[in-house]
C-alpha cells in the first residue's frame, strides 16, 4: 500500500473508517483545532428555523437549521443524514461493488469510481498504462467542467439572472452530451474497470473550444456585473484551514490532489491550481470559472487516446488506497481485498470539511445570502450521507 498508517502528515483530508486521513498518512489522531467548532447557545429573542429536509429549493434532501433573531443568522447546523443510504459493499466482488460506488455520488461518478479502482489497483498491484492514466484525466476534467458549470448556474439562480442561468445550464447539458458520446453514459456509469478506462477522444476538443468561447463571454460579463458581485462579495467568508477543493483554493490555500497525489500524470499537462484570496462566495465562483478554462486546456494537451484492453483483472489479496481531486475536493478510498472480495472499504468525502466550513461561514450573514453561499461550496449530500456496510 502506498499510504502509511501513523502520525499525522501533511494537510487534513477528513475523517473516514474510524481514522483521520491526511495527504501523507492515515492516523488515529485528529488535527489540532478540528474539534473547535463553535456551538451556539440560543439567546433571548432568537428562534430556530428548520429548512428541509425536503424542499424544492435544494437539490438534495438535507436538514438545515438556522438560529436567528430575525434577519441575521447567528448559527447554522447541517444534517446530511436525512437520506442516509446503506450500501452493502463489504463481501462483494469488485465488479458488483463498482456498480454501487459509481452511485455514491452519481454526479461525481468518475471521481468516486476512479479513486475506488485506483485503490483496488494499489491493493492488487495492477499497473496501468499511460493511455489509461490519460483517459482517467480526461474523465475527471470533463466531470470537473460539468460540475463547476452546475455550481455557477445554481449561484446565478437566486440572483434571478435568467439569461446566464439558462446559458450555463445549456453549456452544462452540452458537456453531458460530450460525455455521453465519448463514454457511452452521461454520468460515466459502467465505463471503468480495474486497469481500464473507456473513453473515445475524437471530436472532444472541437466541441469544448466552442463551449469555451460561449463560457468566457458569460463568465467575464458576470464578473463585471455589480448587482451579481454585491450578492457574492463578503458573503460566506471562511476562516479556518479545514477546507477542500475550490473552497480551499478560494481561501488562499494551495490544496489540490492534482498537485500532490502523484497518481495521475498531471505534471505533463498545463494544469495549475486556481488560487484566490477572497475567501468568500465571489472567490469560490471565480475559482470555478478559472478551473473550467484550465480543464479545457488540460484536455487539449492529452493528445489522441487509443482504446485500451478491457478487464485487466487480477485475483488476490491486499490493502490499498488512492486519493484524487474530485470537483468538490480531495476524495480518498481505502480497500482491503481477500480472495477477490472486499473485506473492508471506506472513503473520505471532501464534503465533510466543506459542510463544517459552510456552517462557520454563514454566521453573521443574512437570509438572502443563504442560497448563494450554500451553492458556492458545491456540496453533494449523497456522498456524505452514506453508510458503507
Amino acid at each position: 500500500m502506498h499510504y502509511k498508517f501513523g502520525e499525522p502528515a501533511g494537510r487534513y483530508l477528513g475523517p473516514g473508517g474510524g481514522y483521520h486521513v491526511y495527504s501523507g498518512s492515515i492516523s488515529e489522531a485528529a488535527p489540532q483545532g478540528y474539534g473547535d467548532i463553535h456551538v451556539h447557545k440560543m439567546a433571548a429573542g432568537e428562534f430556530n428555523f428548520q429548512y428541509g429536509p425536503s424542499t424544492g429549493g435544494l437539490m438534495e434532501s438535507v436538514g438545515i437549521s438556522l438560529t436567528t433573531p430575525g434577519e441575521l443568522i447567528n448559527s447554522v447546523g447541517v444534517d446530511p443524514y436525512f437520506k442516509a443510504r446503506e450500501l452493502k459493499l463489504k463481501g462483494q466482488g469488485i465488479e458488483t461493488a463498482l456498480l454501487m460506488v459509481e452511485r455514491i455520488n452519481g454526479f461525481h461518478a468518475a471521481s468516486n469510481s476512479l479513486a475506488f479502482l485506483m485503490a483496488v489497483e494499489d491493493a492488487l498491484g495492477i499497473e496501468t498504462s499511460e493511455e489509461v492514466q490519460k483517459a482517467r484525466i480526461l474523465q475527471l476534467e470533463l466531470e470537473r467542467i460539468r460540475s463547476n458549470l452546475e455550481v455557477m448556474k445554481r449561484m446565478c439562480e437566486p440572483a434571478g439572472f435568467g439569461v446566464p442561468t439558462n446559458q450555463l445550464g445549456y453549456l452544462r447539458e452540452k458537456v453531458s452530451r460530450i460525455i455521453s458520446s465519448a463514454s457511452g453514459h452521461r454520468f460515466f456509469f459502467g465505463v471503468n474497470a480495474p486497469g481500464y478506462a473507456s473513453i473515445a477522444y475524437s471530436g472532444i476538443n472541437e466541441k469544448l473550444n466552442v463551449a469555451r468561447q460561449e463560457f468566457e463571454r458569460i463568465f467575464y460579463a458576470l464578473l463585471e456585473s455589480k448587482i451579481f458581485l454585491n450578492r457574492l462579495q463578503n458573503n460566506g467568508v471562511t476562516k479556518d484551514q479545514f477546507l477542500s477543493g475550490p473552497a480551499a483554493r478560494a481561501s488562499g490555500l494551495r490544496y489540490d490532489s492534482r498537485l500532490d497525489s502523484g497518481l495521475l500524470p498531471y505534471g505533463d499537462t498545463p494544469f495549475f491550481p486556481a488560487v484566490r484570496e477572497e475567501k468568500d462566495c465571489f472567490g469560490r465562483f471565480s475559482v470555478r470559472g478559472e478551473e473550467i478554462l484550465n480543464s479545457i486546456d488540460i484536455i487539449a494537451s492529452l493528445g489522441n487516446l487509443r482504446e485500451t484492453d478491457r478487464h485487466v483483472s487480477k485475483a488476490g489479496d491486499g490493502e490499498g488506497c488512492a486519493r484524487l481531486e474530485s470537483p468538490q475536493g480531495d476524495i480518498f478510498y481505502y480497500v482491503k481485498i481477500r480472495d477477490g472480495k472486499l473485506e473492508d472499504i471506506w472513503h473520505v468525502s471532501p464534503g465533510v470539511l466543506n459542510v463544517r466550513a459552510f456552517q462557520e461561514s454563514m454566521k453573521g450573514n443574512i437570509f438572502t445570502d443563504f442560497h448563494f453561499n450554500w451553492e458556492s461550496f458545491g456540496i453533494w449530500i449523497s456522498e456524505i450521507g452514506v453508510v458503507i456496510r
Binding site: M59, K83, A84, E86, N105, E173, H185, F189
Partner: protein
C-alpha cells in the same frame, strides 16, 4: 448590464429542440430501450425468463452483447393520466435517497435544450402547490415521514411518479420507497435521460 443580458438572450437565439414532436437530436444509448433475448447475468434481475424489465434495469452494460441499446428513449409507463393538468402541471421533487444523478437529470429538463416550461411543466417548491410528486432514490429511514407528509399535503387530483431504478424497484442500492403498483407513472433509467423524463411527464398530463 441588463441590456447586455437581454442582447445575449437574443444573440443566442432559440436552442430548444422540437422533442417530443420531433425525434430527439442527441439521444443517449445508455439509458435507452434494450433489445435482446438471451438470459445473461444481470445484477438486478432485470432480465428474467427472457423478459427485460426497464424499471429494474440500471443500464450497467453487463448484459452486452446479448442485449444492445437501441437509442429509443420511450422507456416509461403511464398507468394514469390527468387531463385536468394539461394547461399547467406543477411537479414537486422528493429525494428519498438518490445519488444525485436523478436530481440533476430532472433539473435538466428545464434547460434550454428541453425547456419543459413550453410544455406547461413547472417545478414547485412546496407540495401544497403540486399536481404530482416525483419520487427519486431508494427508501431511507428518515425520509419516510417526509414522503408521507408531502403526499398528504398535495391537493387532489394528484399523481405519483417514480423517477429512476431506485424509486421504481430499488435498483442496485436498496428498496424502493413505495410499492411499485402505487406509482401512476414509472420513468426508467439510472438515471433516466432528460428526453425520457420530458416525454413521460408530458404524457402524464394526457397529452
Amino acid at each position: 448590464m441588463s441590456n447586455f443580458w437581454f442582447g445575449e438572450g437574443l444573440r443566442k437565439g432559440r436552442k430548444t429542440e422540437k422533442f417530443p414532436l420531433a425525434p430527439p437530436e442527441e439521444p443517449p444509448l445508455w439509458p435507452s430501450y434494450l433489445d435482446g433475448n438471451a438470459e445473461p447475468y444481470c445484477p438486478t434481475e432485470a432480465i428474467k425468463e427472457g423478459m427485460w424489465d426497464p424499471g429494474r434495469c440500471i443500464f450497467c452494460r453487463l448484459c452486452e452483447p446479448q442485449y444492445k441499446p437501441t437509442g429509443k428513449q420511450g422507456i416509461f409507463q403511464v398507468r394514469k393520466t390527468q387531463p385536468l393538468l394539461k394547461k399547467s402541471f406543477y411537479i414537486y421533487k422528493l429525494d428519498s435517497g438518490a445519488c444525485g444523478a436523478c436530481n440533476v437529470e430532472l433539473g435538466t429538463i428545464f434547460d434550454p435544450q428541453y425547456d419543459a416550461n413550453r410544455l406547461n411543466i413547472f417545478m414547485t417548491n412546496t407540495p401544497r402547490h403540486a399536481d404530482a410528486i416525483v419520487v427519486m432514490g431508494v427508501q431511507t429511514e428518515r425520509m419516510k415521514e417526509a414522503l408521507k407528509n408531502a403526499y398528504e399535503a398535495m391537493p387532489e387530483p394528484k399523481l405519483i411518479i417514480s423517477l429512476g431504478a431506485c424509486a421504481i424497484s430499488g435498483g442496485i442500492i436498496g428498496k424502493s420507497p413505495m410499492e411499485r403498483e402505487q406509482y401512476h407513472v414509472e420513468i426508467a433509467g439510472c438515471p433516466p435521460s432528460p428526453y425520457t423524463i420530458l416525454e413521460a411527464l408530458s404524457r402524464a398530463r394526457g397529452v
